[in-house]
C-alpha cells in the first residue's frame, strides 16, 4: 500500500463541485478586497521608492523570516509571533502542495503526495501545526493579561466621544478564527486516521494521538461522519478567513511585508523636501491626496501593537499625542475620504465632516505640536511605519497658517532674524570664547583640521557655554587643530525642519553652506547631536557633503591614539543618557560608552538605553514650546528612572539640550542632591 491520503475522502461529486464554487467565490472576494486596497494606495502621491526592488525584497524577507522587529525588546510576543508566522507559512505551503498535486498534477497523471514524501510532509505539517496553535495560545494568554500597550483607550478624547469596539472585535475574530482553523485541522486528521488506521499515519503524530483519543472515547464508528462535518466546518472557516484577509487586520500579513520592503532606511533621519512648485501653494499636507502611497500604506500597516504608544515621551507625559492613535486616525480619515474595504473601524460621536482640514481639524494641533521628534515610534515599529514624516508634513500645514503658540512663533522669527533661537545678536555667537586664555582659530580666515560646529545652545546658553569652554580647553591641551565659524555659524536647522518651517530650514542650510564652502577645514565635529543629524543626513540633499562626527567619537579617538592621556581612573558609578539624535537616529551608542570605559567610570545603564533611550522632551522644537500642561515632563520621568538604579550619583549627558533639560528636571522633580547632571566632558577633564 502506497503511503498517501485521499483528497475529498468519501465526498459525493456534487459536494466536491460545491467546494470549488465556494472556493472560487472566496478567492474572488479576496481579490476584490485586495484590489480595493491597491486602488486606495494608487490615489496617493508618487514617491521614489521603487528602486532596488530585489534588495528591498530581500531586506523585508530577512526581517519577516526572523520576525526580528517583533522580537526586539519583547521576546514573548516575538516568539509567539514567530511560531504563528512559521506555522502559518508551512501550513499554507502544505495546502498549496495538496492543491497543486490534486488539482493540476493529477490532470497530467502525476502524483507527488505519496510515499516517503507524504510521510515527511505529514510530520512537518503536524509539527508546524503545533507551533501555530502554541503561538496562538501564547497570544491569547498575553491578551488575557490586558497589557497596557494593547489598551485602545485614547489620551485625547473622553470614552463617550469615540468607539473602538470594532478593533477589539477584529482582534478576537483574527485570533480565534486562526486557532479554530488549526484545531479543526488536527481534529479531521485525527478522525480520518481513526476511521482507517493506516500504520504509516504514525508519521502524523498529533493526528495519531487524536485518533487514539477518539478510540478511547468509543467514537471510532462515527469517525467517517465526524470527518465529513468536521471537514466542512474547517473548510468554511478557512474560506471565511481568506475572504476576511483584505477587509481586516489580517491584511497585515501582506501589507506589512510591502511596508517593510518600501520602508526608507533614512526615514525621519532625513525628512522629505518640498519641491518648488509645492512651496508656492504651501509646504504642508492639507488633504488626504497630499499623502504619498507609502504614507497611505503606513496607515493600513498598523497592527495596533501599541509599541509606539508605550514608548512615546509625549504620550507618557499625558499630552494629546499617541503615535498609534495618530496613525489610526489618519487611516480612518483616508478610509472615509477615498474609500477602503476595512470592516472594522473606529467611530466618533462627532464624525469629522468631509472637507475638513487634516492638520488642525482631523488631527488636532495639540497632537501635532506635542511630538518631540525623538523617533522612538519609528524605531520601535515592527512594520516600518514612518510616523514622523507624516507628523512633520502636517506640522508644515500648521506653519503655513501660522497656527502655533507665540513662543514658538517668536523663536522662529528670532532664528530668521538672527540665526539663533535665543534672539541674541549674531555677533555674540562666539562670546563664550572670550573667557578662554587662548584664541580659537577662525576657519573662515585660517585653515584648521577640524571645524567645530557649536550649535545654538552651546553658544548662547549661559550654563552650557561653560561646557563649551571645557571642550575647548581639553582639545587645546591635546593639541587638536580646530577652529570655529564664529558669527558665520547659524542654527543648523535640524529642529526648525522638524517644527515644519521648511522655508526657514532651507535658508539656514543655504547660509551655513555658503560659509562652510568658503572656510578651510578637513572635518567637522560637533557637540550637538541635533546639528550632527541634519548636517550628516540632510545637508547632502542640498549639495553639502561633509565628514562630520560627534565629539564623543573624536575624544575616544584622541584617547586611543594617545593624544589625550588619562592620568586618573575615575572609579565612580555613572549612568548615561543616549541623546535621541545620536543613539537612535544615528546608531552611535558605542563611542560614548567606550569613552567612559577608558575614563574608568563604572557605567550602569538605565532600563531604557541605547536606541531605546527615553527622550528628554526638548526635540523637534518642543524646547521652544510651553511644557507646563504636561502631567509629567519626560525629563522628570527620566530622572526618576535614573534614580531607580540606586546609588548612581552622576547622570552623564552628551548633548547641550540634555544638559539644560535634565539639570532643570533634577530641580523640578525635587531630586537635588540625589543625582547630578554632568556632561561627558566634565569626566574627561577630570581624568586627564
Amino acid at each position: 500500500m502506497v503511503e498517501t491520503r485521499e483528497i475529498f475522502r468519501n465526498f459525493p461529486f456534487l459536494l466536491q463541485i460545491a467546494f470549488y464554487v465556494i472556493a472560487f467565490s472566496t478567492i474572488a472576494i479576496f481579490i476584490y478586497g485586495f484590489y480595493l486596497r491597491i486602488q486606495k494606495y494608487r490615489k496617493g502621491r508618487a514617491d521614489a521608492r521603487l528602486d532596488n526592488l530585489f534588495g528591498r525584497f530581500m531586506k523585508a524577507a530577512a526581517i519577516m523570516g526572523k520576525n526580528s522587529t517583533v522580537f526586539k525588546r519583547d521576546a514573548f510576543a516575538g516568539f509567539a509571533h514567530w511560531l504563528i508566522f512559521w506555522g502559518f507559512i508551512i501550513l499554507l505551503i502544505g495546502t498549496a502542495i495538496v492543491a497543486i498535486d490534486h488539482d493540476f498534477l493529477r490532470l497530467i497523471g502525476v502524483h507527488i503526495l505519496q510515499g516517503t514524501f507524504y510521510l515527511g510532509f505529514s510530520l512537518v505539517l503536524d509539527v508546524f501545526g503545533v507551533f501555530f496553535l502554541v503561538g496562538l495560545l501564547m497570544m491569547m494568554v498575553r491578551r488575557a493579561k490586558k497589557p497596557a500597550q494593547l489598551d485602545y483607550t485614547r489620551n485625547d478624547l473622553k470614552p463617550d466621544q469615540y468607539n473602538r469596539k470594532g478593533y477589539a472585535t477584529d482582534d478576537k475574530i483574527f485570533l480565534w478564527l486562526l486557532f479554530l482553523i488549526g484545531l479543526t485541522g488536527f481534529l479531521i486528521e485525527g478522525v480520518r486516521i481513526a476511521a482507517d488506521r493506516p500504520a504509516f499515519e504514525v508519521w502524523s503524530p498529533v493526528g495519531w494521538a487524536i485518533a487514539d483519543l477518539i478510540d478511547s472515547m468509543g467514537m471510532t464508528s462515527a469517525a467517517n461522519t465526524i470527518h465529513l462535518y468536521g471537514w466542512w466546518v474547517h473548510a468554511v472557516m478557512v474560506m471565511f478567513f481568506i475572504a476576511y484577509i483584505p477587509y481586516s487586520k489580517a491584511m497585515h500579513m501582506l501589507i506589512d511585508f510591502a511596508n517593510l520592503m518600501f520602508n526608507d532606511d533614512l526615514a525621519a533621519k532625513r525628512l522629505p523636501r518640498v519641491d518648488e512648485e509645492r512651496m508656492k501653494v504651501g509646504m504642508g499636507y492639507n488633504t488626504i491626496q497630499d499623502f504619498t502611497w507609502k504614507e497611505l500604506m503606513d496607515f493600513d500597516a498598523c497592527t495596533k501593537c501599541g509599541r509606539c504608544h508605550s514608548v512615546c515621551p509625549a504620550r507618557n507625559a499625558g499630552t494629546a499625542l499617541s503615535p498609534r492613535d495618530l496613525i489610526l486616525d489618519l487611516r480612518t480619515h483616508a478610509d472615509r475620504a477615498i474609500g477602503s474595504p476595512e470592516w472594522f473601524q473606529q467611530t466618533f460621536a462627532k464624525e469629522p465632516t468631509a472637507g475638513k482640514k487634516i492638520a488642525g481639524e482631523v488631527i488636532s494641533k495639540d497632537v501635532l505640536w506635542s511630538c518631540t521628534t525623538c523617533m522612538a515610534c519609528v524605531e520601535t515599529c515592527p512594520v516600518g511605519i514612518e510616523h514622523l514624516t507624516s507628523i512633520v508634513n502636517l506640522r508644515r500645514a500648521l506653519v503655513d497658517e501660522g497656527n502655533m503658540e507665540t513662543m514658538l512663533q517668536d523663536t522662529l522669527a528670532n532664528i530668521g532674524d538672527y540665526g539663533n533661537s535665543f534672539g541674541q545678536s549674531e555677533r555674540n555667537r562666539a562670546a563664550w570664547t572670550k573667557e578662554l586664555d587662548f584664541k580659537i582659530k577662525d576657519v573662515r580666515k585660517e585653515e584648521a583640521e577640524y571645524l567645530w560646529f557649536v550649535g545654538d545652545y552651546a553658544s548662547y546658553d549661559g550654563r552650557i557655554q561653560d561646557i563649551s569652554r571645557r571642550v575647548a580647553r581639553v582639545l587645546t591641551k591635546a593639541g587638536v587643530d580646530f577652529g570655529l565659524l564664529y558669527e558665520g555659524e547659524k542654527n543648523a536647522g535640524n529642529d526648525v525642519r522638524r517644527v515644519g518651517e521648511e522655508g526657514l530650514y532651507e535658508m539656514l542650510v543655504e547660509d551655513n553652506m555658503a560659509v562652510l564652502e568658503k572656510s578651510r577645514f578637513k572635518k567637522i565635529f560637533t557637540t550637538d547631536p541635533h546639528s550632527y543629524n541634519t548636517i550628516k543626513n540632510e545637508y547632502p540633499e542640498f549639495g553639502g557633503s561633509y565628514e562630520i562626527e560627534h565629539y564623543t567619537g573624536l575624544l575616544l579617538r584622541l584617547i586611543k591614539d594617545g593624544t589625550l592621556k588619562i592620568n586618573k581612573k575615575l572609579g565612580y558609578k555613572v549612568t548615561y543618557h543616549d541623546p535621541c539624535y545620536l543613539g537612535r537616529y544615528n546608531g552611535e551608542v558605542d563611542a560614548p560608552r567606550q569613552l567612559m570605559e577608558a575614563l574608568g567610570v563604572e557605567l550602569q545603564d538605565m532600563p531604557r538605553c541605547k536606541e531605546n533611550s527615553f527622550c528628554c522632551g526638548a526635540g523637534g522644537g518642543r524646547i521652544w514650546m510651553d511644557d507646563s500642561k504636561m502631567e509629567e515632563r519626560p525629563s522628570e520621568n527620566r530622572i526618576k528612572e535614573a534614580l531607580t538604579l540606586g546609588d548612581v550619583p552622576y547622570f552623564i549627558v552628551a548633548c547641550p539640550k540634555d544638559y539644560a533639560m535634565f539639570s532643570d528636571a533634577v530641580k523640578t522633580s525635587g531630586n537635588e542632591g540625589k543625582i547630578e547632571v554632568k556632561d561627558i566632558i566634565h569626566l574627561v577633564e577630570e581624568a586627564i
Binding site: 509646504m283 501660522g402 522662529l412 532674524d417 518651517e501 521648511e502 522655508g503 526657514l504 532651507e506 535658508m507
Partner: protein, 254 residues
C-alpha cells in the same frame, strides 16, 4: 472698505545702540532694523478686519533701511497692496515730517481707516497717528485695543490707565493708533515671504512737499546715567517687611 496701514522699521535693540560722532544721532552703520512692534499689531488688526469684512489692506512705508523686507512680509501676511513712499528718508525723520509725507500720499487715496502703531521706540516729536490725523484732517483715536466694524462705522476700544477701557463710535474715514491687536501678530513662513518677493512688486509713490517743522531740535544724544540712592533693606523677613511698610506709608500710600 479700504484700510491703510503705515508701518516703519525701527532700530533692533538686540544689537545695542551707539551714538555717532556728532552726538546728535545714532551710529547707523552697523544697525539692524526690525518692524515696529506696534505697527505689526496695527497690521494684524487690519488683517483680522480683512478676514471679517473683506476689506482691502494697503501697507505703506517711507523709504528707509530694510523697508522692502517689511513690506514684502506684510504682503506675505495678506496685505493686498504695498507702497513705498520715495523722495524722503524715513530713517531719522521727525514725526511731523513723516506724518506729512504719509498724509501727502494717503490723502490722494481712497480709504476708510488708517491704522498704525500707537508709538515707536524712535518717535521723537510725538506719535505718528495723531499727527497723521491732523494733516489728513480726520478724526483720531489712539491706544486702541480693538476695532469692530459695522457699515461705515466702527466701535473702537481705547485703553486708559488704571484698567479703564472706553468705547468710541466713529464714522469713516478716521485714523487709529493701535496699541494691540486682538491676537498676537501672525507668523508668516519664510517660504511665503520668499515667494512674495518673487511675485509681488512694491508700488513707489513720491512723497511730495514735506516742508513742515517738528518745532524742536536735537541737541544731544546720551546714555542716561543710572540713578543712585538705592537702599538695600537688610535684616530678617519680618524686619524687612516692617521697613517696607514704613517706607510706603511715608510716601503717602495707605
Amino acid at each position: 472698505m479700504n484700510i491703510i496701514v503705515p508701518i516703519k522699521q525701527v532700530p533692533d535693540l538686540v544689537e545695542g545702540l551707539e551714538i555717532d560722532d556728532s552726538g546728535k544721532d545714532l551710529n547707523r552703520e552697523w544697525m539692524k532694523f526690525k518692524l515696529n512692534e506696534f505697527d505689526d499689531h496695527a497690521l494684524e488688526e487690519a488683517l483680522i478686519l480683512k478676514e471679517e469684512t473683506g476689506a482691502t489692506v494697503t501697507a505703506i512705508a517711507l523709504d528707509s533701511d530694510d523697508v522692502d523686507k517689511a513690506l514684502f512680509t506684510a504682503a506675505a501676511k495678506g496685505a493686498d497692496t504695498i507702497i513705498k513712499v520715495t523722495g524722503v528718508s524715513g530713517t531719522g525723520l521727525s514725526s511731523h515730517e513723516a506724518a506729512k509725507a504719509l498724509a501727502n500720499v494717503i490723502g490722494g487715496m481712497s480709504y476708510d481707516l488708517v491704522m498704525t502703531g500707537v508709538q515707536a521706540i524712535d518717535d521723537r516729536d510725538g506719535q505718528l497717528a495723531v499727527l497723521l490725523a491732523h494733516y489728513l484732517d480726520k478724526p483720531h483715536v489712539s491706544v486702541v485695543t480693538s476695532v469692530t466694524v459695522a457699515g461705515d462705522q466702527a466701535v473702537i476700544s481705547k485703553e486708559y490707565g488704571g484698567g479703564l477701557v472706553a468705547e468710541f463710535e466713529g464714522t469713516f474715514p478716521m485714523v487709529l493708533g493701535i496699541q494691540a491687536a486682538r491676537q498676537s501678530p501672525r507668523y508668516v513662513p519664510v517660504a511665503k515671504v520668499r515667494q512674495i518677493m518673487r511675485s509681488a512688486s512694491i508700488e513707489e509713490v513720491a512723497a511730495g512737499d514735506v516742508g513742515v517743522s517738528s518745532g524742536s531740535d536735537i541737541t544731544k544724544y546720551f546714555t542716561p546715567v543710572s540713578g543712585g540712592g538705592a537702599e538695600m533693606i537688610g535684616g530678617s523677613a519680618e524686619d524687612q517687611a516692617a521697613k517696607i511698610v514704613e517706607l510706603l506709608k511715608s510716601k503717602g500710600i495707605k
